[in-house]
């Protein structure tokens, strides 16, 4: 049985590339939300999880990164920290793919067993009565888009459950429609048209279900939705930060 790290209230944040380079507000919000819950937070020295590298055939680079991250993050686990990620693709890759690609690497298994998507982690805290639920009301409707890489995790509905803890929020539409972005996939000239064709279904859903906010956990989905609908898309941690009045 893996050691239960939830009760330690110590978190090693794997920000991944998107929160670090493109959407730092997510990382900043997480720091504040965890602060509200008196969780100790560290940000280990980390590299890209390897998923986008693998997608473009950079196997060597992906392995280097995976081995580095496995080393650094497993050290954090040994020191009693649970690993959390705000990007659903990163959390999936750390959880599922690390032990598959590095079958003989015990550290990868340790990382996999102790990685949580941020909402999954906060819900586990809530289950034990340790989540600060002194939320102020956000009387808004939300269109929530579940990224494919969160749907495939066992905790696929964690973010929805977490958002429902915030008073006033009505999740009026949940979509599991693929956005067609797939990391850099939708950027490539070869895939651009198909990517938009796939996204069209999601765009239609958004148009037919107008809400105050559009929320998703994935940076790629956010960019694709914003490009196609001209609506701002928020990461759920931003709503949580607002609910704490931060």
């Amino acid at each position: 049985m893996p050691k239960d790290l939830i009760s330690n209230k110590k978190v090693a944040y794997y920000s991944g590339c998107f929160a670090n380079y493109y959407y730092p507000e997510v990382g900043e919000a997480l720091v504040k939300v965890l602060g509200k819950n008196r969780i100790k937070l560290i940000v280990p020295e980390q590299s890209c999880c390897g998923l986008p590298m693998m997608a473009k055939g950079n196997t060597r680079g992906a392995y280097q990164n995976m081995e580095h991250n496995a080393r650094v993050l497993s050290q954090a686990v040994s020191d009693g920290y649970a690993i959390i990620a705000t990007c659903s693709s990163c959390s999936l890759f750390l959880k599922r793919d690390y032990p598959l690609w590095m079958a003989s690497n015990k550290l990868a298994k340790q990382v996999s067993q102790n990685t949580y998507h941020f909402s999954e982690y906060l819900l586990l805290l809530h289950d034990r009565g340790w989540l600060n639920t002194e939320f102020r009301s956000i009387p808004q409707t939300v269109f929530y888009h579940t990224p494919c890489h969160l749907t495939t995790q066992e905790s696929g509905e964690a973010t929805i459950k977490l958002l429902r803890l915030i008073p006033g929020i009505t999740i009026s539409k949940i979509s599991t429609e693929c956005c067609g972005m797939g990391g850099a996939y939708g950027y490539e000239k070869a895939n651009y048209e198909l990517s938009k064709e796939i996204a069209d279904k999601l765009y239609r859903e958004i148009k037919e279900n107008p809400t105050d906010r559009i929320v998703t956990d994935c940076g790629g989905c956010k960019l694709q939705i914003e490009a196609g609908t001209k609506h701002k898309v928020d990461h759920p941690i931003i709503l949580l930060k607002e609910a704490y009045g931060l």
């Binding site: 920000s15 929160a19 380079y21 473009k56 494919c148 950027y187 000239k189 651009y192």
Partner: protein, 432 residues
Amino acid sequence: MNKDLPIWIMEPELVQKRDFAARKLLEGGQKKALIPQTPTIDEIKQGLRDIREYTRQNISSLVSELQNNLGQQYRQLKVKLAADNIEAVRYISETSDGIKLISTNNSSTVNQELKPGLLAKGFRVINSYLDEFEVRKKEILDYWDLPGLRDKNLWGSFDVSIRMAGLAETKSKKYLALLGVNAISAEDSTVFFLQHFSNIHNDLNQANKVILVAGLDKLVKSRQDAAFQTKGMGIFGMECVLLGIGPKPTKTPSIAKLAPPSTNKERELHLILLDNGRTDLARSNFSDLFLCIGCRVCNQHCPIRHSFDVDYIWTPKNYLRQFMYGTSSSIDTCLHCEACRLECPLDIDLPLLMWQAKIDHVKKHGRSFQHKILGTPEMLAKLGTALAPLGNWMMRTKLVRIPMELVTGIDRRTNLPRFHSQTFRKWFKKNA
């Protein structure tokens, strides 16, 4: 040599069971009318896994057992073990005796592996499954319109409804039926078909020559296993059938109209056992593909399923197989959303196998220059961060985007994310 090959057809049919239950009820009251309890979806999955795992481990002995049975028992049947599709097409061609009209069922084995070769040899090939549609308007547009049949567990509704012994000596039509089977029992040679309409039964009854095609992966140990596998294909693939039902394509005329009556009174039954890479597959790193029962549920939620203009049911599994065969040059259209993995009743990890195939390909052929650039996302992000905010402005000018498209392959129309001169981790170091 006095028997004929048992050919059993399974259908989604409740009438027989209802009649059976009613009869028992009348005969002996409610206790006798009780129908055995339906297994759960998890039990069905485990049953399928056990069957497929046995086949994967014992493929060679199953082939020998089946060949031995087939050679000794059936007077009507001619058997051909074809090493590959070329050999199978040659056999069909030699067997055809000048008949140029072929009717097929909706089998992937037939339509993907054999049909191209038959067309090249001048045969006219018609998928008679499509001829059964009497639909004016497509009501089920995509998976969100589906009724969630898996949750309803249709196990009890599928059953064997037709049991044939070889081909009946009836008046036939001058065409050749090429039918991919769903399962075949090595123990007693029973052939199983899953039929949603009536095309397979029609072809078995009226084609002058019938050639059954069994990919070696369709072999299972016993008749019981073959029935279980076929039923499994039925329940997990039911919604894929619904997705495929639409107005009849005009390009497929009916075989019944095209085929004249045959003057040849003797009907012929052939069975091709098709290897075409399957034995090697069972021993390779991709042997999990051998567990596939062909239900096509992996197609259901695949976001790219509409993007292939083919005249058979496209599935991600066959997309990978074609890439491995070399009949498709890329698997880069896969988004790696992993929906297929979630759907597969055999838990085949298709996304992982797609990665593996890609890695093998890159090892042999290298990567494009554009993928070399895009394969280093963090380096690009660091470069963008160093150049922000000037970089952000530059990324929005055509002067930069057009040459950038040529070099990196990033489409000039995309909205790139904005870089920040202060990354999160820099901020954290300063503030935490």
